[in-house]
Amino acid sequence: MAGTIERQDVYSLPGPWHPVLRAYALAIGVMRDKPDSDPLSLGYQAAVHGVGDPRDPPPDNFRSQCQHNTWYFLPWHRWYLYYFEQVVRSVLTTIPEVPADVAASWALPYWNYARPGANKLPPEFAADKRWDGKDNPLYDSTRRPGVNERTAALDPRSAAPRPGVLTQPFSSPSDRVSTFGGTQSKWHHYDEPSTLTGGLEVTPHNAVHQFVLGDMGDFSTAGLDPVFWLHHCNIDRYWEVRGHAGDPTGWTVPFSFLDATANEVQVLSDGCVDTVGQLGHRYDDTTSPAPATPGDAVRARRGVMAADVPRPELPPEVVGSHGLVNLQGERIDVPIQVGSVTNEFRNARAGQSEPQRIFLTVEDIRAETDPGISYAVYLGEAVDEQLAGMISLFGVTGTRRAGHAVGFAFDVTDIVDALRDDDAWDPNDVHVVFEPVGAVYDDNDGPSLKDTAQVEVGTVKIVYQ
């Protein structure tokens, strides 16, 4: 496709105020000044990402359409970014200060917070004044204290997909197994009871929303923060990092957007898989991120969910469960007894009772308000190489509108295998540890994590497949 544009890492753009960022700031300024009813306004673009009340239909085919906790998460957001980028380029052509070549080739940059030294807000977004001393449209005063001051950083464990996520199956009809992209569903606004958040959506997507907070902390206002678009550009990039082997073939729900001329376009999810051929853009860097911690490196070496391992076909079976757990900013140790599988499980597998995969699920999660912190979930001891995953609860407030709860699943097969090798796995005495994780502050000068908003976890389960 002619004229393929390249999306670049914002931290790789020579600054301060590289022409791409300067143009972006000018465009955002113009878009902020337009009325929210104007499809080219920032307010309208942000409203597209709303959820609204799941008991009511959206106001039209374009607003309150965002897809989360579903296999449509990635393709919907990819189309969303695509049309936003078109809108920005269209606006840039109306701004005399923007050179014509910059306007024509402008591409949304991405924020790769896993890059060493890049886990703080990009400087051009943190300054309240721009290059000429005027108010900076990229600045958002609602962000978490410390983010604009650049004294707060994203925890490294939340800055990249967790080990194994990039090689997991894209999706699954089951809501008890971990996937890259989320459970299969219909059009989804918490109105289906059985979906799990995909691994990429949990970490780093939810974690970054929760780290920046403010406008970024709610579906309906997240798009008002100009860094939202760079964040989602990075999330979209991870789909390219993963590659497209095993992409779903069953996406059937069409989505509607307004293009840069405010005309309706109806799109399908498989129409955006090839970014170069179908959308006309590429990413400058699609290499896999390095393990964030030594424990992650250990898990990566063990091979969590290696891409060439055949996926189990049969439905999973719950073998252990613990009821209600309330998380409120303190470590909690949850004991679970893991029982034996049923005869049905054994017979379906021709007499084999050992599972192919083992998952740890944290389900039926509800909260009145976002706690603003994440929780690290460990299987067994709270040590690095037993970190099953991170729970970041962006969007959990959707559950208070009588919608269905959110849930997460982590593949812990390698952890259990390692514990067995060390004779440390006792099915009668399994522990799941929840450890609160907040932003990382310079000089450890951050607020206490205690007394954060309560999060109710319905069940914690061990699942065999």
């Binding site: 049969l314 719950v318 009821g323 049905e344």
Partner: protein
């Protein structure tokens, strides 16, 4: 961890072993199989009287004996209220099982998936017990009305067989599909939580009952009309399918409007066939 059993290796097994594995796989993929089996048995029990009397045109195309007929015939022509109530309750239970269980299949699957494997079937049964308890309570009222009606207004009991009266009886049900109360009940039906794998059976029964309360508001008018008039297999099938669509549809309010049209259409067809049959 062990490797999967390949399809090729399954083909090498003796037939009995292969069958045992495939049955286990079917049950693993469809834990709700016995729920549908019970619903199917209820349908067979409802259709059997028609088949036993011969598939002549009027029975096949049109009417099943209405609930009032069960009540009136329970004592060989002499109406005894207690026997009549028992007969009517049995008929009501059969109708509820046939029509409600299919629409509870998605819920049964979720209960099965979220429960520890060894108590999966018990969890489904406890949830369905809660649902049926509510519908039985509704049945007490409906059958009670029928018994009183037949006792005090015997000639009027036959009014439901008159085609124009039969169709007119379904108009309120059609209107009900468009009301805010119906929409509210449908939404609540969608959002009642499935117990998240709890092991307390009483909580599962209670959750089933809470869900059924909203279902009774949503579907109760149609079920009551079915019981109070002479009804047809066609209408019963339309309602069963329509209720299930309301449960699984992404836009249940749209499904409800579609069901309204289907109900009045089925009522007209049934009345027309009864007239010419």
């Amino acid at each position: 961890m062990t490797a999967a059993v390949s399809t090729e290796s399954l083909d090498e097994l003796p037939l009995s072993e292969w069958t045992r594995i495939e049955v286990a796989r079917f049950r693993a993929r469809h834990p709700e199989w016995w729920v549908l089996g019970i619903a199917l048995a209820a349908w067979c029990a409802l259709v059997a009287p028609i088949a036993a009397s011969g598939w002549h045109a009027s029975a096949m195309h049109s009417r099943m004996p209405g609930m009032a007929d069960h009540v009136a015939s329970s004592s060989g022509g002499t109406l005894h209220p207690t026997n009549a109530f028992a007969a009517g309750s049995r008929a009501w239970l059969l109708m509820v099982v046939a029509m409600m269980l299919p629409m509870l299949v998605p819920r049964a699957r979720r209960v099965a998936a979220s429960s520890i494997g060894r108590i999966r079937n018990r969890a489904i049964a406890q949830t369905l017990a809660g649902e049926l308890l509510v519908w039985l309570a509704v049945g007490v009222i409906v059958v009670g009305v029928i018994v009183v009606g037949v006792t005090t207004m015997a000639p009027a009991a036959d009014a439901g067989r008159v085609p124009i009266v039969f169709v007119a009886a379904w108009v309120p049900v059609t209107v009900w599909q468009f009301t805010p109360v119906k929409r509210r009940a449908l939404r609540a039906c969608h959002f009642v939580r499935v117990p998240p794998g709890l092991t307390d059976g009483r909580q599962r029964v209670r959750a089933g009952a809470v869900h059924a309360e909203w279902c009774a508001v949503s579907c109760g008018p149609a079920m009551a009309t079915m019981a109070l008039t002479a009804h047809s297999l066609l209408l019963m099938a339309v309602l069963t399918g329509g209720f299930t669509m309301e449960v699984v549809a992404h836009r249940p309010d749209v499904a409800a409007r579609g069901l309204a049209a289907a109900v009045i259409g089925a009522a007209l067809v049934s009345a027309a066939l009864a007239t010419v049959g």
